[in-house]
Structure formats: structure tokens, C-alpha cells
Symmetry: C2
Subunit: 456 residues, 2 copies
């Protein structure tokens, strides 16, 4: 028997029908939302408890079998693909909300709890969890990729909103990385080390999260601009003025067209900013008025406001379904998603250069962006069967990234590195990669945790 | 020749009079503001550039000689004491402000720039750096200890305000840990790993810092309460209501007495809260009114406001000089400083228990606290020559810490672990200590960087 066969035998003996080797389950766990080809694991464990994860890690480490943590599979860089086979640990059944501490505005959840589940649960408590990547991702997965999204401009990303983790290491050791105090100077910040480590240092099993009070008033606003430059420059001005926006999302005409197709909305076909303002009613009105005045200065037309939950929901649902909507622009293609972030003042330069560059290649590529954070996505619709298109997309991506790095930016604003951006990751960090490698080796000497991600 | 002699010879050859072995310089670099006994290094290098630090690390690593980074010596847990001799690298001459990016509200500085120097420099730009531990510490040192202080309740600590670092590793490798984008999902969060690592993983040589706009209006307010419980419970209520305070500082009668002694202020001798509110004038007035109303409900008297810079400065200077003021309560003694932080809702329990405990021992111990963060300091004034007093203080400290941990808190809110809290650090983190040790070993296999701190 090979090691993997022995490993699966031991797992089945211990976990019985929590272990699946059915082809459909394996295929479902071998890919995420990205264009990267499915790489199925050899088996999937549907873990129900932290101890299940501990025992699974011990068995895998005995046979030197890879372990790939799996939340909902909504990642964007092939982060869950089982490139070297092994055991995918699916945490979706670890979905208990363990504690809500309303007085201190924090909570403890199992890793498989999704952000929508948590917010549904919090509905009557005047609190919410703000990080919103669009997909209804698991909170463990969101921690692993350091997810952010539409509200990060106000509330921060998972970096700011995870205050502690329970993590299972490669050898099955279970650790806790943080307590409930608002701050601490007690040793290395393991919480932030594991946040964003993409399952390469350990498997997140529980999270302590920061919650926020539901604002007294929420106002959404859409504004449509004559040019993309106007929309981007306005964003810079708003951010530099320190105006407290809770969301500021850029969509170009193509993205709007896709959204109108898919969500049956009727946004004017123009470069668009979608805002949201959170606060008490006086502040929200004041800020919205100031932003609207600025929109007017930048030539916006059809600025419209939405305060009812229903109207706001329609706008943000349309935005959240963008990933699906974009595919309607060229049915049957795959989406090659870029994800750079630059200092906000460099957004006009970064976006203009990319737009000009795109004109030279014949690919459809709608633009969206969490522009308050300097993060934007060109989504290239490519025919995977056409090597020329793939090459065009990859070369465009290279130029986009090199420009972002030149401007002081990063290759990944929110999707992580996964299997898709390893070369660019090396370019970005230089000698610091050796530090990451040494840390990886110190915690996972056999390279069992999500191999082929971050490092080759 | 011994290794240390050879090392100093090589350093002198390379750096000439940047290297000092004079007794007074060595003694000055062998201690901080804590009660821990001076442990002088064998030599001090006054580094002028990052490359000086690189070359020094290479020479020290060749002879396996300890390296202790030194900023201004204002740390509180013996963090700079050279317990095993070696070379203290003094960064005070690395004091260039390299870049201010006003548009993106960030800046780059050398590690020896102090927070007051930076704020002085920013005075005319409408920006400031908020982290305020009281002492005019170097920003490199503040990063190393993950400093926080009076404004953290609004602006966060060094954890939130350092966005990137240049760091020299034990072997002289120089790395950069972050760029200027507001967020990134590009690999392990080395910035937050080095922030708070107390010089045990590398020597900080440059910092990228987040800046904040100077608020349109700043209002300070003092309120005096019939009991310490009233002041603490009010703090909880303010925090739970989400009222935007920029500072909320607790002082008990003893601390007030010390401040009045030292700073010639005339605060009523009562448990006191010092507030500050930042924002536009409408918001600030509104919030101050709400807080004042709550103060009245909790029986406060003599609530007074200060808006002029001069009046505010008098209040905060008095608060900042507390460390010196406390010594006037019992001249000739040393200060044994405690530093736990607990979830804010647990503050009343934590402080009441400690106050009751203190009544049983015959030591003077004024109380101050950054209570908006759940962080408070009892400062025990002890006669170092009296082993009984030291034992009383240490046992009180043990009980205080055990209670804080039981409440979900941390042994160190802001001072770090240094040489002073290693046992408690182990108690707090359990198995996670092994992860910190593995990381330490992976980056500093010979244990040259600040040995005897965090780990024994």
C-alpha cells in the first residue's frame, strides 16, 4: 500500500463516513472560483470539531500526506486546489457560533461559519461583522486569505478584524494566538502571521472576531461620470479629504453593462462610483452632501441615493454578483482576475496606464475596484483553449503588476497568492521571501500544509 | 583574544569613533526606565545608516556576539538591558525623516526618529502621528515593543500604524516587509511579526507609518468621581455606546496626588477621568455633551473642559510626567510597573479585585490606565534593598496577572515582555510559545538578537 492509501485507510477507520473519496466530492474540492484547472485531493474529510482536525493532521503527518484546508471554495487564486493530492479538510460543518460578547463587541466562531450566517445571527443585536468580500465565504477561509472587500475602506480587512485564532499545526498541535483584550504587547503577533498565510502554516479552526455597531443610518449613492479618470480622481480627492465613506466602488462601462445584463438593473452605461455612508443621520447627510457636491464638480450626472434596506440591497447584490455578471460579456470563457493595490494617490496613473495598455490587446476586460483602498480588478475574459489569449492576459498582468510595484503597491490586494501569483510574489518581496520560507519551514518542515501555494 | 574582544576590534576598525566602550556610555545603554538592574553591553555602536547596522550584524554574527537594539532607553521591562553583554546598536543618529506622502497620509522615517520629532516636523502639514506612549520614544523602539498609549482607543497602536519596515536580520540580511498600499494579501504579514518582537527577530532600521489628519477641533475634559468604581463603570458605558473618544485616561487619588505634587496642578484629589475628543466642532461638542451627561449620572463633580492648546498641553504633560511624579509619593524607591489589559467589560472586576488585594499589602501603588483599551497600570513603589517588599510586589503582580488571564486579558498591554514578564508570558500563551520559539530559531539560530528577552 502507498502512503496515501494507508493514510485514507486510517482516516476512514477513525472518521468513517466523514471521509469521502467520491469523484464528485473530490472534484468539488479541487478548484475555487478562479480559472485554474481542477486539482482534486485524494480524499475529503468533513471535519466536525477542532479535534477532528487535530487527529487528521496527526494521521496525515504520519504518512507525510498533504493537507489542504477548504472553506466554501470561493477563493480566487487556486488557493484550495490540491496540486499534490492529499486530504482536503472541509470545515463547512464546523459552523457553530460559540459566543457573542456584545459588551466588548467581539465573538467567537468555528472556522466554517460564513459571514452571512454570522450577520444573520447578529441581526437582532445591533452588531455586525463588516468584512465583505462579496462571496458568502467561510470566516476561516477569509482569515486564511486576509480577505477584505467593499467595506474595508472604513472597517479594515481581516487583518484588523480577527483578534485571535485557534489553529492546528502540521503535526496536530493545537494553539491559540490571541485573547480578547483590545491590544496586547505580549510576544509575536501570531494572529496576524496566520491571517493571510493561506493554509500554509496551519489550519484555522476557530476565530475571535471584532464586531461593530450597526450604524444608525446607512445611505447608498450612485454617481455616473463622463470618464473613468473623473471617477478615479474624485476618489482620490474624497480619500485625501478624509471624508468618512464606508464603501466606494468603481465600475467602468463594461462592468456596468455586465451588471445590467445579469442583475436586470438599469444603471446608466458610464463609469460609475457606488458609495455608502454609515453613521448617525446628521453626519451621513452632511457627508453625502459633500460627496455629491464633489461628484457634481467632476461632471457626474444622475447621482441617486438609496436609504431603504431594499434599495441598498439591490445595489450591493448587483455589485456582489459582478463575478458572475462579467461572464455574460463573453459566454463560455474563463475569468482571469487581476488584483493589484496601489497607494490611493497613484490610482489615476495605475488605472490610466492599464486602460491604455488594454487598448492594445483584443480582450474584453471589465474594471471594478475597491478604490478607497487603491485596489482594483481588471477581469480578462479568456478562452482557455487559446494559448495566444492566455499569453496576452499573462503579459498584460505582468505589466500591470510591475507598474503597481513601481508605484509602491502590492501584487495582491485581497485574493492572496495561491498558485496563481507566485512569480510576482517573489518579485514584490525580494529577500523577505527567504524570511517567509524560513518561517514556513520552521512550522511545517515536511511541507505538508497546502503545498504549491505561495512557494514552489 | 576572546570573541567579544575580536568583535570590538573589528567594529572599531570599521566604525572608528562610532564605537564606544566608555563606562558611562555602556551604563547608559544597560538599562531602561524600569527597576531592573543595569546590565551594560560590551560596546555601543552609534549607527548612522542602515548599512552600519548591516555591517555590525555581520561582524557580530561572525563572532557569535549578542546584538541589542537601543532607541532612547524609555522601555519599561528591561527590554534593552544587555543580559549577556554584546553590542548595543544605538539608532539615535538615524534620525532622518525620509519622506512625507501627504496625499496618502503616510511617511517613511529612520528608526531613531522620535515621535515628537516627527510631529514637530509635521506641524504645518495638517497631519500627525498619533501613537503616544508618553515618553518621547524612538519610532523604531516603539515598533519593537508594539507601543500604544493614550490615543490608542481611537487611532490604534503601533500594530495599526506601522505599514512597513526595513529590518536587518541576525546575519546582516536587509529586508523590507511592506509597501504603501492600504491593504495587501501578499504573503505572510512580516510587518506585524516584527512589530512587537522586541529586537529578538531583527533590528528595525526604517519605518513606513500611517499618518492622520489633525482634527478640526480638539477638546479635553476632566471629571472627578466619588469612587474608582464609578469612573470605571462609566468608561465601560462610554465604550459600549461606541462614543468616539480619542483619549480616556483613569487616575486614582494617589496618582492625582503625585501629579499635583510634581506638575503643580490642582486637580481635586479624587478618582479622575481625563478625556479628549477629536473631530469637527459640531461632533466634538455633541460627544462631549453626551459624555458630560453620563459623568453627571455617575456622580462626577467639577467636570471641566479645555480647548486651547496651552490648557490641553498642561493636562497631558501632567499625565505624561506621571512616571516621574509617582516617585514623589515615596522618594528613593523604584517603580515596579504592572501592565495588564482585559476586555473593557471586565475592567470593573479586574480593578476592584486588584484594589482589594492591594489593601492587604503595605505598599503605595498609584493606579493609572488607558481604560478605553482595558489597559491599566498599578505602579508599586518598592525599596529594592528590601526582599520582603519585592516579594510582596511580585506576588501581587502574579495575582493581578492570573486574574487578567482568567478574564480573557493579556499580561502586557503595551510594555512588552522584556526580561521582566517571561514566566507570565509562558502562562499566557501555552503551546503557542513553541511556535514563537520555532520562528525565533528559524531567523536567529544562534540566539544573538537581544538574548534573554521573551525567552530564557
Amino acid at each position: 500500500m502507498t502512503d496515501i492509501t494507508k493514510c485514507i485507510k486510517d482516516l476512514k477507520q477513525r472518521f468513517e463516513d466523514k471521509v469521502s473519496t467520491s469523484a464528485s466530492v473530490l472534484n468539488q474540492h479541487g478548484h475555487d472560483e478562479s480559472w485554474h484547472l481542477c486539482a482534486p485531493p485524494d480524499a475529503v474529510l468533513f471535519a466536525a470539531t477542532s479535534d477532528d482536525v487535530v487527529q487528521c493532521a496527526k494521521i496525515c503527518s504520519r504518512y507525510k500526506v498533504p493537507i489542504i484546508p477548504f472553506g466554501t471554495g470561493s477563493s480566487m487564486e487556486g488557493n484550495v486546489n490540491a496540486l499534490f493530492g492529499g486530504i482536503s479538510i472541509d470545515t463547512s460543518q464546523m459552523n457553530t457560533i460559540l459566543a457573542i460578547n456584545a459588551a466588548d463587541m467581539d465573538c467567537e466562531v468555528e472556522a466554517g461559519v460564513t459571514r452571512e450566517q454570522l450577520n444573520q445571527y447578529l441581526r437582532d443585536q445591533g452588531l455586525f461583522f463588516p468584512v465583505d468580500p462579496g462571496a458568502n465565504a467561510s470566516l476561516g477561509g477569509m482569515a486564511a486569505t486576509r480577505a477584505s472587500g467593499t467595506t474595508t475602506v472604513k472597517y479594515g480587512s481581516m487583518r484588523e478584524n480577527v483578534i485571535g485564532l485557534e489553529v492546528v499545526l502540521a503535526d496536530g498541535t493545537l494553539i491559540n494566538t490571541g485573547g480578547r483584550a483590545r491590544k496586547s504587547s505580549s510576544g509575536y503577533d501570531l494572529t496576524r502571521l496566520f491571517v493571510g498565510s493561506e493554509g500554509t502554516l496551519g489550519i484555522v479552526t476557530k476565530l475571535l472576531l471584532r464586531l461593530h455597531p450597526v450604524p444608525e443610518m446607512i445611505l447608498a449613492m450612485s454617481a455616473h461620470f463622463p470618464t473613468i479618470e473623473a471617477a478615479v480622481e474624485l476618489t482620490c480627492e474624497i480619500m485625501q479629504a478624509g471624508l468618512p465613506v464606508a464603501r466606494v466602488e468603481l465600475l467602468d462601462e463594461l462592468a456596468i453593462k455586465a451588471i445590467n445584463n445579469y442583475s436586470k438593473t438599469e444603471f446608466p452605461l458610464a463609469p460609475t462610483l457606488l458609495f455608502e455612508f454609515h453613521g448617525n443621520s446628521a453626519t451621513v447627510s452632511e457627508v453625502a452632501d459633500m460627496v455629491q457636491e464633489l461628484c457634481d464638480e467632476y461632471g457626474a450626472n444622475a447621482v441617486s441615493r438609496a436609504t431603504s434596506q431594499e434599495d441598498r440591497k439591490r445595489i450591493w447584490n448587483a455589485r456582489h454578483n459582478l463575478a458572475f455578471a462579467e461572464r455574460t460579456l463573453r459566454p463560455g470563457t474563463e475569468t482571469f482576475v487581476t488584483d493589484v493595490a496601489v497607494p490611493v494617490s497613484c490610482l489615476p496613473a495605475a488605472i490610466s496606464a492599464a486602460k491604455a495598455d488594454l487598448k492594445k490587446i483584443d480582450l474584453i476586460a471589465p474594471l471594478s475596484g475597491h478604490v478607497g483602498d487603491g485596489n482594483f480588478h481588471f477581469v480578462l475574459l479568456i478562452n482557455r483553449e487559446d494559448p495566444h489569449e492566455i499569453e496576452l492576459a499573462e503579459k498584460f498582468h505582468d505589466r500591470l503588476i510591475n507598474n503597481a510595484l513601481r508605484l509602491g503597491g502590492t501584487v495582491s490586494g485581497e485574493h492572496g497568492i495561491g498558485m496563481g501569483k507566485i512569480d510576482h510574489f517573489n518579485t514584490e518581496h525580494g529577500e523577505a521571501i527567504s524570511v517567509m520560507r524560513r518561517i514556513k519551514h520552521s512550522l511545517d518542515p515536511d511541507g505538508l500544509l497546502n503545498p504549491g501555494k505561495l512557494f514552489t
